[in-house]
């Protein structure tokens, strides 16, 4: 046993000596991982404690699963959780294909200037702060002065106070998110498309494929691995909806569809500085996200032999 151990260690030693330059290159990243990803995991125990910052993690008493019980017994949390999944799920269905479609459309643009121009224009919203985006959305949707409602009323419809109607929140949120992010997200797919050998298209042209056929039979299958990886990542974020933008857009009146886990945690945290509850909610999210990614990856590996790991 010991001799095998020493043999093993010796093997490592030899590896280190031989490839020390490589290990040296890897070192900063390893340190970064340990310091910023593994070390903070120590803090996860807060989820199982009645935490007081002054007492510290070690000094705070254990409470077992009490924090999780509090969460799961709270109907508002349950609703927030369901809302999170719903918003992400709908986002997945409606927002995920948009950058792909955009990338395909850019790819079809022949005029170099027109292409760059339109690309820049759709990238731009990504660089606008969510605060400003929220302001724009609120203005656009204002029932008295908003453009959308002016159009609606000129067409003879009643103005709609979108931001106070729960049934509209998801559309507004997902729609404006598409506007903001789709262009930027299309970069990944454009890069993937750029990686497709141009002779594939030339060959298809000679073989008689139409543009549409080339998109369906060449471009999409060729960037499928990229799409699947992005999809898996997206699924991993299914339980995650960033709170900044929601907080800027939602109203108590729309809580029933707009309140998500992160906003719930934000409000709870503000009320009582309840780090323990917030950590428990975060951990709960992380575990579910992990399970989702794991499953998605499994399925993808089986079905399309593309996988994240």
């Amino acid at each position: 046993m010991t001799s095998r151990m020493t043999h093993y260690l010796k093997g490592i030693g030899e590896d280190l000596r031989r490839d020390w330059q490589l290990y040296l290159l890897a070192l900063p990243m390893i340190v970064w991982f340990l310091l910023f990803l593994y070390k903070p995991m120590e803090g996860l125990q807060i989820a199982f404690k009645d935490f007081s910052p002054f007492r510290g993690i070690a000094g705070s008493p254990w409470v077992g699963l009490e924090n999780f019980r509090t969460l799961l017994e709270d109907q508002i949390f349950i609703r927030a959780f369901i809302n999170t999944i719903t918003i992400s799920g709908l986002g997945l269905i409606f927002a995920f294909p948009v950058p792909i479609i955009l990338a395909l459309m850019f790819n079809e643009l022949q005029n170099e200037f027109g292409r760059r121009f339109s690309q820049t224009i759709v990238y731009l919203p990504h660089f606008i702060s969510v605060v400003i985006v929220a302001g724009i959305v609120i203005n656009l949707l204002s029932p008295t002065t908003g453009v959308i409602n002016l159009i609606l009323s000129s067409l003879g419809f009643e103005p709609v106070y979108f931001l106070t109607q729960p049934e509209w929140f998801r559309s507004v949120f997902i729609g404006s998110n598409i506007w903001k992010e789709a262009g930027f997200e299309s970069i990944v797919y454009l890069a993937a498309i750029a990686g497709v050998s141009p002779t594939l298209y030339e060959s298809a042209r000679v073989d008689g494929a139409s543009r549409w056929q080339m998109i369906w039979r060449i471009t999409l299958p060729c960037i499928l691995p990229t799409i699947i990886i992005m999809l898996i990542i997206r699924i991993g974020n299914l339980v995650e909806v960033g709170f900044e933008y929601i907080i800027l857009l939602y109203q108590p009146a729309t809580y029933s569809t707009a309140d998500v886990v992160s906003t719930y945690v934000y409000r709870t945290g503000l009320q009582g500085t309840q780090y323990d509850l917030a950590t428990a909610a975060g951990l709960f999210n992380a575990v579910i996200a992990f399970a989702l990614v794991f499953t998605a990856n499994r399925i993808s590996r089986k079905v399309s032999s593309t996988s994240l790991w």
Partner: protein
């Protein structure tokens, strides 16, 4: 009626003209090879025929129809690409079927065509494989399979063998020729490799800097190169070209080889050339390596040229001698004697006078009796 006809075809990128006025007529069932160094415009010309490049001037017609503004798919051509252009996500059968599928052919038709092509190309065992799991030669065959299922009027090959190793290349070369013999489809084939051109072509089109230098059967071009470029491009090793000046001696033309030697080498030029050359004219004297000898053979009219040997490259039954004549490099291809070492001591080369080629130094054009 010619199968493919190029009339005064020009290609320009902005102000830069890369193909200048090409005229070419390809006969039905003919195998034409466009050959030339990289950047000579041969691929561009082929792509204009395929419809992948716009034609800046002139006309191209296929089967009698002008196709200048016609989309590639309507030209009834099939093309094989250098990097095969196989679809990585499709298996061999679907790759071969692609051209038929996009044309909406019925399933049964497609399957029959694929299986026929696969049989011709020995691909039947691999039909379910993805391109990534195939060897280079197999991929090349799939690419050809994709072309032949379409049964096009014209095959276009764009350096299809360049990505293969030497052995496979030789093998595939033969297969392509066999395929052509069997199917008899008009083919235009682009390569930079003169051996491919010589072995495959019914007719070779030698191109250089966007121009056609000479068109003709392989042997015609080999024996009667129209200019120094064609002469040096065909044949392996290429023809030696020595710079020389014409002097007259005893009524016959004599070429004095340029050089700094104290005793400049001289070659008596063939009798027919005297009329075509002026004294003092600057010329290139062409000597095929395989025509140079080191021992007196059976040929009558042979001249001695003093030389020094730099290097000997034995190839087995033959050897290459890298020599200098009057300081200018010359390669000779000779039979290997029993003692290879002796070759290093060769002091003179023998040259049959009637095998000399003469080109004008300035224009590069061949000088011959007829002109």
């Amino acid at each position: 009626m010619s199968a493919v006809e190029l009339n005064d075809v020009v290609k320009r990128y902005g102000a830069l003209e890369v193909v200048h006025s090409i005229d070419l007529s390809v006969v039905q069932g003919e195998f034409v090879v466009l050959v030339g160094p990289s950047g000579c415009g041969k691929s561009t010309t082929l792509r204009m025929v395929a419809g992948l490049e716009d034609i800046s001037g002139g006309t191209i017609s296929i089967g009698g129809r002008v196709v200048n503004r016609m989309a590639p798919k309507d030209r009834d051509v099939a093309m094989v690409f250098q990097n095969y252009a196989l679809y990585p996500h499709l298996n061999v059968a679907e790759n071969i079927a692609f051209g038929l599928r996009v044309r909406g052919e019925k399933n049964a038709v497609v399957e029959a065509a694929v299986s026929e092509a696969a049989t011709i190309l020995d691909l039947t065992p691999y039909l379910k494989r993805k391109p990534a799991d195939l060897s280079g030669g197999q991929r090349q065959r799939v690419a050809m399979g994709r072309a032949i299922v379409r049964k096009p009027r014209v095959f276009l090959f764009d350096e299809p063998l360049s990505n293969l190793d030497a052995k496979l290349r030789t093998q595939m070369r033969a297969e392509i020729r066999r395929l052509h013999n069997r199917m008899g489809v008009t083919s235009i084939y682009v390569t930079h490799d003169q051996v491919e051109a010589m072995t495959l072509a019914d007719r070779i089109v030698v191109m250089n800097s966007g121009r056609v230098e000479q068109v003709g059967s392989p042997m015609e071009l080999f024996l009667n190169p129209a200019n120094a470029f064609v002469a040096s491009f065909l044949g392996s090793p290429p023809m030696n070209l020595l710079k020389a000046t014409v002097t007259a001696a005893n009524g016959a033309a004599v070429a004095r080889i340029d050089g700094t030697d104290d005793n400049p080498a001289q070659l008596t030029l063939p009798a027919w050339s005297a009329a075509a050359l002026d004294a003092g004219q600057r010329i290139l004297v062409g000597l095929r390596p395989e025509h140079l000898e080191i021992e007196t053979g059976t040929v009558a009219d042979v001249q001695n040229i003093p030389t020094t040997v730099d290097l000997v490259e034995p190839l087995g039954s033959e050897a290459l001698l890298h020599c200098r004549i009057a300081g200018q490099p010359v390669v000779a291809k000779v039979d290997t004697p029993s003692d290879v070492q002796k070759l290093a001591e060769v002091r003179q080369l023998l040259m049959p006078t009637d095998r000399l080629h003469i080109f004008d130094l300035e224009t590069g054009r061949a000088v011959n009796g007829r002109s």
